[in-house]
């Protein structure tokens, strides 16, 4: 499309401003995390990393990290299994209730998470289940499975069903087709869905709030501290959590890149 140079430049600046707007609060948190004084005020006079040292030594912190990590890992694995089949039902197969299924999956996304968490709390209570971090896994799944399904479905829309039919014509059974054809073709979607699942669970607060029982995830603990007053550990842990997520993304990108490079090298050899 032809837009004038001026429009282009203005929109480009607007985009940059938007990114700055999104990340400005994290800059403040970053500065706060390296401020030495217990009571924060800008401009920061003395910088120190002592809060990081304290956070790393604290046993509360390692417990929080362990809980958050367990929830996120379990959510990722289960959500991916659901999402793989869900996406096929969503996009690939033509079946009778496909439309209803598509709409049903969307409902939890269009739902206030705090209310969903409370509804689950009552549901677990009436079933006689005492909430722990495991019930939080269920809570996260309801919200994250639909998102993962949509991400895999985008990939499933773009693949050619003729590939599956060809395999079937050559005598492959349903299971073999799924494993040898469908799974590898959907892989890029599954990888990004897994990344989304992990990170969204890692950062989720409203669903965890009511469903973790006596356990606590990192975002929950941070919220409790924020509402009850300032603690210098809040920005420190916040930044540690953010850096952790970003490292995971970098790692995932690096793995995908290496795999692709490896594949290209092999095809070049053949």
């Amino acid at each position: 499309m032809n837009a004038s140079r001026l429009t282009r430049t203005v929109l480009f600046i607007y985009g940059i401003a938007m990114i700055a707007f999104l990340y400005l609060p994290l800059v403040s948190v970053g500065f706060a995390s390296v401020s030495q004084s217990r009571y924060l005020s800008f401009p920061i006079k003395r910088y120190s990393t002592k809060w990081y040292g304290e956070a790393l030594e604290s046993s509360t912190v390692s417990e929080l990290l362990l809980t958050s990590l367990s929830v996120a890992l379990l959510v990722t694995v289960i959500a991916l299994v659901f999402a793989f089949f869900g996406a096929l039902a969503f996009a690939r197969y033509q079946w009778r209730f496909r439309n209803t299924f598509q709409k049903l999956i969307l409902l939890p996304i269009f739902f206030p998470q705090t209310v969903l968490g409370l509804a689950l709390l009552m549901w677990f209570n009436s079933l006689g289940i005492i909430p722990t971090w495991k019930t939080a896994v269920v809570a996260h799944l309801i919200w994250i499975t639909p998102i993962a399904t949509l991400i895999v479905a985008i990939r499933a829309y773009s693949f050619d069903p003729a590939l599956e039919e060809a395999a079937r014509d050559m005598g492959a059974g349903t299971f073999t087709v799924l494993r040898e054809i469908t799974l590898p073709l959907l892989m890029p979607g599954i990888v990004s869905a897994g990344l989304f699942a992990f990170l969204l669970s890692w950062g989720n607060f409203p669903l965890s709030l009511f469903t973790t029982g006596a356990d606590s995830t990192l975002p929950e603990w941070l919220y409790a501290k924020m509402v009850s007053g300032y603690s210098p550990l809040v920005p420190t842990l916040g930044i540690m959590s953010v850096v952790g997520s970003f490292l995971l993304i970098l790692f995932a990108v690096a793995v995908v890149w290496l795999m692709r490079a490896n594949k290209e090298a092999r095809t070049a050899q053949d």
């Binding site: 499309m1 929109l11 480009f12 607007y14 990114i19 707007f21 999104l22 400005l24 609060p25 994290l26 800059v27 403040s28 948190v29 500065f31 800008f42 401009p43 089949f85 096929l88 039902a89 996009a91 197969y93 033509q94 079946w95 009778r96 209730f97 496909r98 299924f101 598509q102 969307l106 409902l107 939890p108 269009f110 739902f111 206030p112 705090t114 209310v115 409370l118 509804a119 689950l120 009552m122 549901w123 009436s126 799944l141 309801i142 639909p146 829309y157 039919e165 349903t174 890692w202 950062g203 607060f205 409203p206 009511f210 941070l222 924020m226 509402v227 809040v234 916040g238 959590s241 993304i249």
Partner: protein
């Protein structure tokens, strides 16, 4: 082929459907039943008396609901205006910068909204990033904009921006360039093209984006608590208090039900209007 497709479709939909029925629809039924129980009971084995709904009107809870809906509406309208130019540029003008923007915005989503809102407190508070540096430079301080209704709306706009931006960009990318060009060639003005070509053709994206941001903002809790102090109470806040501090599950359930009915009606209406196959790029 068709019968196989049908069978496989049903089979592969089964796990997700079970999850939705057992862990999403069933809890909602429990909320509905709890909401008609007498006050302060913790089991469903009581005679229903609907008293919790009367409390909603008598004790002024409807004010929280109106505030929440009003602030959600305001933030949705602001988001539409703020996101439209950027979504347009992402769909039609930028090339590689669209990818950069997408990655930057998606990455911000992975940071817990608590931390980001807390970051705004540190940025905007008296002695915060902005006021502190401004005072150090000029010697003049100013009041912090925190703890009021406008800042809550600002927080909602900030947190739900990606939920408006991405559907909007997707909707706009569905507007064919030829149609716009044809309208211009026939002498349409910029405004006519916007109102008569672009907005109607991008409608699915507009509907999904607006619905998502409105619904999520209406049920939001953290913005009003972290940024708003106690300037106004959001309905989600009332619901939480009823459950935790008030130990009154039927009241909390009744408040939830009212919110769920409003949001559910909107969501069902919006979702039923949208063709998902078209939005998500079906090739066949």
């Amino acid at each position: 082929m068709k019968t196989l497709d049908r069978r496989l479709g049903l089979l592969s939909a089964l796990p997700v459907t079970l999850l939705m029925v057992l862990a999403f629809l069933a809890p909602l039924v429990v909320v509905a039943i709890f909401s008609i129980m007498p006050p302060k009971v913790f089991s469903l084995a009581n005679t229903p008396d609907f008293s919790a709904y009367a409390v909603f009107f008598k004790q002024g809870y409807y004010k929280s609901l109106l505030w929440s809906l009003g602030m959600a509406l305001a933030s949705t309208v602001i988001l539409l205006v703020v996101c439209w130019p950027l979504a347009y540029a992402m769909a039609k003008i930028f090339k590689r910068f669209t990818l950069v923007l997408t990655i930057a915005i998606v990455m911000s989503l992975f940071v817990s909204e608590n931390i980001r809102l807390f970051g705004w407190v540190l940025t905007l508070m008296k002695g915060g990033l902005i006021e502190g540096h401004f005072r150090a430079l000029t010697g003049i301080g100013f009041d912090s904009p925190l703890y009021g209704v406008p800042i809550i709306v600002f927080g909602l706009v900030y947190v739900y921006l990606p939920f408006m931006l991405f559907p909007l960009a997707q909707g706009i990318s569905m507007v064919p360039d030829d149609t716009r060009q044809a309208a211009y060639d026939l002498g349409a003005t910029r405004w006519q093209v916007l109102w008569q070509i672009e907005i109607p053709l991008a409608a699915p994206g507009i509907v999904v984006g607006s619905l998502l941001s409105f619904v999520l903002a209406a049920g939001a809790l953290a913005e009003s608590k972290i940024l708003g102090g106690q300037a106004v109470i959001a309905i989600a806040d009332d619901i939480e208090t009823a459950f935790t501090f008030g130990q009154n599950w039927p009241l909390g359930s009744a408040l939830s039900m009212i919110l769920i009915v409003i949001i559910g009606t909107l969501a069902l209406f919006g979702v039923s209007k949208v063709d998902l196959d078209a939005i998500m790029g079906r090739k066949r």
